[in-house]
Amino acid sequence: MSGIASILNTDLLVATIRLSTPITLAAIGATICERSGIVNIAMEGIMIIGAFFAAVAALFTGNPWIGLLAGVVAGGIFSLIHAVATITFHLDHVVSGAVMNILSFGIVRYLMVMIFGHPGTTDAIPVGLKAYQFAIPGLSKIPVLGPVFFNQTPIVYMSFVLVVLTLIFLKKTKTGLHLRAAGEHPLALETIGVSVYKMRYLGVFVSGLLSGLAGAYLSIENSVSFTEGMANGRGFIALAAMISGGWTAIGSFVAALFFGFADAFQVRMQVFKVLNIPSEIFIIFPYVATVLAVAGLVKKSRPPKADGVDFMIEKEGA
């Protein structure tokens, strides 16, 4: 039983951050998207797209930063399919999301075979973003918190910043205000002359960018090559995080950390065979948490009023 004690150390927290980063990114993306009124269950697919293009670009340019950019942009562009389908063509959001997921697998595998002659995994990129890990002087010396938050890799830092930015965007900016209004009471926004469609397109696009970034993290920062099935359900965990986080940036972040912790903990439980619980018990944790959240056991969890509600200006015609 001394095992338990030795699990609980700084490394566990570092691992927690490492595992939660992609979830955090996708989750805050989803938050923005759903706050604008578009339900997005396609994060899984977008992540895969992002991871793939990031790896490929990094591989052929030899520059991970270009890879990063490629991943983010690819995610953004791919997400626009969802935007067009749901906003312009008024397709059911969940349906579109499901189709997006199916599509992404096909696209990536097809391109894999085209480019590398085989699916599975790409060759290792010459240099990954991990190489750019840097400790913030001073801060990183703080015991425990130092190594956890201030000695990290680029995208992890970005995720911290992005959480704050999302918070500011939603709370403090005009666009953020409009976006939230679009998800709560679209007509109110339209009647004061702000385009609901624009806001919703924005929401979907941003979530695409962030999910793409999450993918890039998986392929070119946390590892040095792309592998099919890399996302491995993280997109859905992100959804879970967003919901149990009550559709807020901070909430999503905390939930993501929580889920990351559960995963890190689970691996370490195995390393020292302390009490033999099937790892699955920990893996399903996020999903159970989400069910509890929507069951209303989590107070704050209130979806945007017009989340998933189609908006048609023509309707106001008569």
Partner: protein, 358 residues
């Protein structure tokens, strides 16, 4: 007729034409007008598929080697789901393949099924145990004594992690090594048991950790498992997890410790970190099987076990580490190999035998 129906009819016609065009001059031509003269050799991989930088690719390499030497027409197909196993195997046979390989433990039942239904084609299953008592005569299981590769690799790890830790700054004195497992299937277990035994044989008080990730495709999980063990002082990580393992090697590389690859020489993944790889000569086994069949010496109905005596199991060259690894270690490796060959040492094939509860 209403506009709608008109359009429908038109579309139907189009689709008919389309179909017609597709079936024009008979579907049977759908099979490629491949070089009929050449012998066709087929290979079906399981869901993992090619590009695993491990045993699927290894097997494929064997096919390519044979192609190079015997000028065969090599065909490979990946399965998308388990319902595809049988049709792909029998399909290859029906396409006229002379030998059909099933790559992967999970295709075992499908292999037998396909073999039973195509008695004129030779079938071979990599990592598949064929029960001689009821298996048809045209199917052969290609098994490997992974435990032997594991054992030799274990010797390397056991010595380097403690006695010769000074050899590289990637090694420490904590006397801990770790293993990252994919799904806990027999070949994986054999590697694990062998490795454990190997380590203990030269370094009895070494702490050997291992984590089952339960997947062959999730790099992040493999990385996490490796790091978790590195935190505990492990300075050599042995990956037995396919693509998941790439994450483990990557983790070792980043964490500044060493790793040991699996199945094929994986030093390319991270030249600085990968000391060596515990290889099982899949490539060679495939090649030999094809050769045998072409020479008409293919005998099925049982298993061919490739071990150290066939020079198909063992470890790859040290590559970048060649200069680092001390001569004594290399000597010990040679000794271990000799002992295994002479049968002086028998590497355990399961955790039970190894007495490892990991």
């Amino acid at each position: 007729m209403s506009k709608v129906t008109k359009i429908t009819v038109v579309m139907l016609v189009i689709s008919m034409v389309f179909a017609g065009l597709v079936f024009a001059n008979g579907g049977s031509e759908a099979a490629p007008a491949a070089e009929k003269s050449k012998v066709i050799i087929g290979m079906a991989t399981d869901v993992g598929g090619l590009g695993d930088k491990s045993f699927n690719d290894g097997s494929y390499q064997g096919l390519l080697d044979a192609k190079a030497d015997f000028g065969i027409d090599a065909r490979v197909v990946e399965s998308k789901q388990q319902t595809d196993y049988v049709p792909n195997l029998s399909g290859l046979a029906e396409d006229g393949a002379q030998v059909v390989f099933a790559v992967g433990f999970l295709m075992g039942d499908a292999l037998i099924e396909a073999a039973e239904n195509h008695p004129d084609t030779s079938f071979a299953g990599i990592d598949i145990f064929v029960d001689p008592s009821k298996a048809p005569k045209n199917v052969e299981g290609l098994l490997f004594k992974e435990q032997e590769s594991g054992y030799v690799a274990g010797v390397v790890a056991g010595l380097l992690t403690k006695q010769y830790a000074s050899a590289s700054d990637r090694l420490n004195d904590d006397n801990v090594v770790g293993m990252v497992l994919g799904m806990d299937i027999p070949p994986v277990e054999r590697y694990q048991a062998g490795f454990y035994a190997g380590v203990k044989s030269v370094n009895p008080d070494c702490k050997v950790l291992s984590v089952v990730t339960g997947t062959f495709t999730d790099q992040a999980k493999g990385k996490e498992a490796a790091l978790a063990m590195i935190e505990q002082g492990a300075d050599i990580i042995f990956q037995i997890a396919g693509l998941t393992g790439l994450g483990a090697i990557n983790a070792a590389n980043e964490a500044g410790v060493a790793a040991i690859g699996v199945d094929v020489d994986q030093s390319a993944v991270a030249p600085d970190a990968v000391i060596t790889s515990a290889v099982k000569g899949i490539t060679r086994a495939v090649y030999l099987t094809i050769k045998a069949d072409l020479e008409g010496t293919f005998e099925g109905g049982g298993n061919k076990v490739f071990g150290i005596n066939e020079d198909t199991t063992g470890i790859s060259s040290f590559n970048k580490w060649d200069s680092i690894v001390p001569g004594d270690v290399k000597a010990a490796v040679q000794k271990a190999i000799d002992d295994l060959k002479s049968g002086k040492v028998v590497a355990p094939a399961s955790r039970k035998e190894a007495g490892y509860e990991g």
